[in-house]
């Protein structure tokens, strides 16, 4: 019973969380307008919708239908294409914040809270669709779900769940669990529905290869994943200078020590390194724009 109690009780009081939320709101108020403007341009469809078939009358002939039309003695006469009405692209967006202890050890907490507040408030203003907030560490927990209405109070309550004391950073579990949460939330009629996940973390995670496989699986499920790395604020060290130890078998099968740059094998293709909350709007919109460009050309 004691263990259960521990799981269901958030580590922060609601009063403290409201105060923290309020502080984050103040720190990010100006930035929210900027981010909102940039995201609106990126997330909203700007292209005129494509021509679609098959109609009895329309704008242009659908050439594929002509031969069957003649062969059917002109009975199969739905040979026209029409320009259908532009539909608003709907997004379900999940923000996942790292609750592991390394976040508090590297003094990322303030920046992490500000980022979560900024991103969730801005996305809600865009009325893009549902918003989910997830915390991860040793385990994964959804602290705000897609079907809940987001508000300042709801935001403050999510802060309650972040104590930054978790003893592991299980990114594999995060990606796997996120795919499941998105799957459950995906409406049956998936016309123009996109699912986007923004991970906010110090970026320290193990087993890059396995994570990369999961990231690929997410992409196959039409989940876009962008990673915001919150980097070295307290001291002069940066994840960009960090290296990683690996043991790679040589031609005789003996393990050889290799030391590479940590970010060289970072499993998320779309990531940004942020040192200051003021950088976040620009960085986030840049990486999302890149994502869409990549998507369009693939």
């Amino acid at each position: 019973a004691e263990a259960l109690e521990e799981i269901s009780t958030p580590p922060r009081s609601v009063e403290e969380s409201r105060e923290l939320w309020h502080q984050s709101e103040i720190s990010t108020a100006e930035l929210s307008a900027r981010l909102s403007e940039q995201l609106r341009l990126i997330l909203e469809p700007t292209l005129a919708t494509k021509l679609k078939g098959d109609y009895k009358t329309g704008k242009r002939l659908n050439m594929k239908r002509i031969i069957p039309y003649i062969a059917s003695q002109f009975k199969k006469d739905k040979i026209w294409l029409r320009r259908t009405k532009p539909s608003k692209r709907q997004y379900q967006i999940m923000v996942a914040l790292d609750d592991s202890k390394s976040m508090s050890e590297s003094k990322c907490v303030k920046l992490a809270f500000d980022s979560l507040c900024l991103v969730s408030k801005t996305l809600t203003q865009l009325e893009s669709g549902g918003l989910s907030i997830v915390k991860f560490g040793e385990s994964v927990k959804e602290v705000h779900s897609f079907d809940q209405q987001f508000s300042n109070d709801a935001g403050a309550k999510t802060f309650q769940w972040f104590g930054f004391q978790e003893k592991k950073t299980d990114i594999k579990k995060l990606v796997a669990e996120s795919i499941r949460i998105f799957e459950r939330a995906r409406p049956l009629n998936t016309g123009d529905q996109w699912q986007l996940q923004i991970v906010i973390s110090d970026g320290l995670c193990e087993d890059h290869e396995t994570v990369q496989r999961l990231v690929r699986r997410a992409r196959e499920n039409r989940i876009m994943l962008v990673f915001v790395i919150i980097d070295g604020i307290s001291n002069n060290e940066s994840i960009m200078d960090m290296s990683q130890v690996k043991y790679v078998p040589d031609q005789h099968g003996n393990l050889q020590l290799k030391i590479d740059k940590y970010l060289d094998t970072f499993p998320f293709e779309f990531y940004v390194v942020v040192h200051d909350i003021y950088e976040l709007p620009e960085m986030l919109s840049t990486i999302l724009r890149q994502f869409f460009q990549d998507l369009a050309s693939s």
């Binding site: 390394s102 592991k168 960090m242 990683q244 130890v245 030391i259």
Partner: protein, 100 residues
């Protein structure tokens, strides 16, 4: 073998006078299963010396006689903590000293 594949952020430093034994103070993400030998191999790799130098390792002034993992467990810490690891030239082995 169900080995713990966890990694921990480590920063190496030394008080050795010899400048050629100093590594850059950038952090390294390394397996927590490492013991003295593995750590020594890393420091030597970083130093790029022609002849390998054996090192001893200390954390918070305490000589490391186990794996990093055992150290963390003993201190009630997790791999989320970054470690400042001091290295010193290994003292001569007892068998060698005895021959004097």
């Amino acid at each position: 073998m169900a080995e713990d594949k966890s990694q921990v952020k480590v920063k190496f430093f030394t008080r050795e006078q010899d400048e050629s034994l100093h590594v850059q103070d950038t952090p390294i993400y390394a397996p927590i299963s490492l013991k003295r030998y593995g750590l020594s191999e890393i420091v030597n790799h970083l130093l790029g010396l022609e002849k390998a130098v054996p090192f001893d390792f200390l954390i918070d002034g305490e000589l490391l006689r186990t794996s990093l993992q055992d150290y963390l467990t003993k201190k009630g810490l997790s791999s989320e903590t970054s470690l400042n690891v001091e290295y010193t030239r290994a003292v001569l082995p007892p068998s060698y000293l005895a021959s004097f």
